[in-house]
Amino acid sequence: MTTFKPGLVHAPVTPFKRDEQIDFSTYGKLIEFHLANGAESLAVPMHAGESVSLTDEERIKLIKYAIKHVKGRVPLIAHVSQSGTGVAADLAKQAAKLGAAAIVATTPYYWTPPANMLLEHFTQIGAATKLPFFVYNSPDEMGGVKISADTVLKLIDRLDNLAGIVDASLDWQFMIEVVSTAQRKRADFQLLTGAEYMISAGATGATGMIAPMAGIAPRAVKKLWDLCAQEKYEEARPIQEAIAALRQAVKPLGVAGLKAGITLMERKGGNMRAPLENPPLAARKKLAADLNAIAALRDEPRGW
């Protein structure tokens, strides 16, 4: 089993043109920006990349484009979540063929799966490739469906390539339970936090972070990451608070807020794809005012 460590993972948005088609040339610029601003890995396309609104064919095209563009400078994690187990497993296979370094998948959309169904779903996706496989626990996004520590322990038995869990629940009870019990079975099992709350995650044993906010504020994200990597948690608190404020400002608009924030930083987040909508002017103005109020974000890079 490889000891692939994703580290600080940037999760780029997927920019669309006015006609809702993928804007590949802007996407290339975004990837370049992430690489120049601290990404140690890329995860493509996460929910922040509107994965759910892409066709399967487009997802593969996007992963292919990203891998070609990155040219091995950092590893690329392919996000393959789907409702159907077979569809997700097939995406994983295609991503592996294209040169992805790892696979990540969350619980199946819509089906409100019980534990045994989750176990089967993840087993089949994981077994589809030999790549390091991360399961992604995100109950708030997934209608309350949680991955239990017990499911993770069973997956370790079934999958030699189960590398870790990405946690977006931010639930300390779960994070500590899963990392401590899983590492007793598999010492190099990794906990990654799926949001930029690195202090608590790092203290409890997380070794990676998926950071969509890096599209807006890569310096702050990098600073938080570096301080936490050195376990300077007290020192990291002010920047953690600034990033929390950024997340709260973006949150009411969701991915549209993230894209609008990137555009406010004089880059280009691009249009949204249906069913998500571009935010109205008033919402963008409020976001601009909220971002301006966060002093720690003033030395973030503007433009490309």
Binding site: S169, E177, S180, I199, A203, T204, Y233, Q240, A244, R247
Partner: protein
């Protein structure tokens, strides 16, 4: 109003005779045990103390016994949450009359109160006493009813005797929202984790916690706080992982299994009142096995 709560505070369980009647002499023993083994404060009766399964007369008698036993060695807070707001107010008046140092109250049970109703409740409670008080936030148990940072800001502004929050979401985002707001308005604000999740909360501005495991392994709990406060993160993780393992045993139908475990540590406290079950002999033996595996039988005090 100089009271600042910090460190690991303990909440004694409520000892019962075999006929489920209140065992006040043993309550005094448990309370004294906690003070002698490092508790920085005592609060009674939390849910862990079966607060909601007692009559008003029992709660008052117990509160008086606890206040008398602690005898000002550490601060005593009385938990006044009741189904009826009128009972809560009555218990708070009683606590003040009997010279408690603080009271604690959760957001109202059952009714899914609006933010304004939560605000009005805390204003009514806070202005009915001169004592300092803690607001108790537990969205997981109260179907999402919670103290948001906006609400907390209004409460702090209105209520000079609100000195902190007992925070039981155990969630990075929720804790940090309250902590950064509370500390920005009041530098001494006490953010206290509901049970001893100190590792993820202290670096976010937490000052301490309550405790699930203090009646089983006070040395471990004290060591967890010490290592977090000293930024000895590897040691803190070791302690936190063990305590998390215990919490996974105690959490369901709390405090049945905790009371069962206390038997194994030579500190029997009798049964648990229905509807909570009493830990069976088999359950007690299972817990003993877990305690032995963790080395707790050897490193912690046996008996009173």
């Amino acid at each position: 109003m100089a009271l600042v709560l910090k460190g690991v505070m303990q909440a004694p369980v409520t000892p019962l005779h075999d006929d489920f009647s209140l065992d006040l002499p043993t309550l005094e023993k448990v309370t004294d045990f906690h003070v002698r083994t490092g508790a920085t404060g005592i609060t009674w009766p939390y849910h862990k103390s079966e607060s909601l399964n007692m009559t008003m007369a029992e709660r008052k008698a117990g509160a008086e016994a606890v206040i008398r036993t602690v005898a000002k060695r550490v601060p005593v807070a009385i938990h006044v949450s009741s189904l009826a707001v009128h009972d809560t107010l009555e218990l708070a008046r009683h606590a003040q009359e009997k010279d408690a140092d603080c009271v604690v109250a959760i957001t109202p049970y059952f009714w899914d109160p609006t933010p304004q109703a939560i605000f009005d409740f805390f204003v009514r409670l806070g202005t009915s006493i001169d004592l300092p008080f803690l607001a108790y936030n537990s969205p997981g148990y109260l179907s999402g009813v919670e103290i948001t940072s906006d609400l907390l800001a209004r409460m702090i502004e209105r209520l000079p005797n609100l000195i902190g929050v007992k925070e039981a979401s155990f969630n990075s985002e929720k804790f940090l929202e309250l902590s950064r707001l509370g500390l920005s308005m009041k530098p001494d604000f006490s953010m206290i984790a509901g049970v001893e999740y100190l590792l993820p909360s202290i670096p976010l501005g937490g000052r301490g916690s309550y405790s699930s495991a203090g009646a089983i392994c006070p040395n471990l709990v004290v060591e967890l706080y010490r290592s977090c406060a000293a930024a000895e993160w590897a040691k803190a993780r070791e302690c936190q992982y063990k305590i998390s393992r215990l919490w996974m045993i105690f959490r369901d139908q709390y405090p049945s299994s905790l009371k069962g475990g206390m038997v194994m540590m030579g500190r029997p406290v009798g049964p648990t009142r229905p509807p909570l079950p009493t830990a069976t002999k088999e359950r007690q033996e299972y817990i003993r096995g877990q305690l032995e595996e963790m080395g707790i039988m050897d490193s912690e005090p046996y008996g009173w």
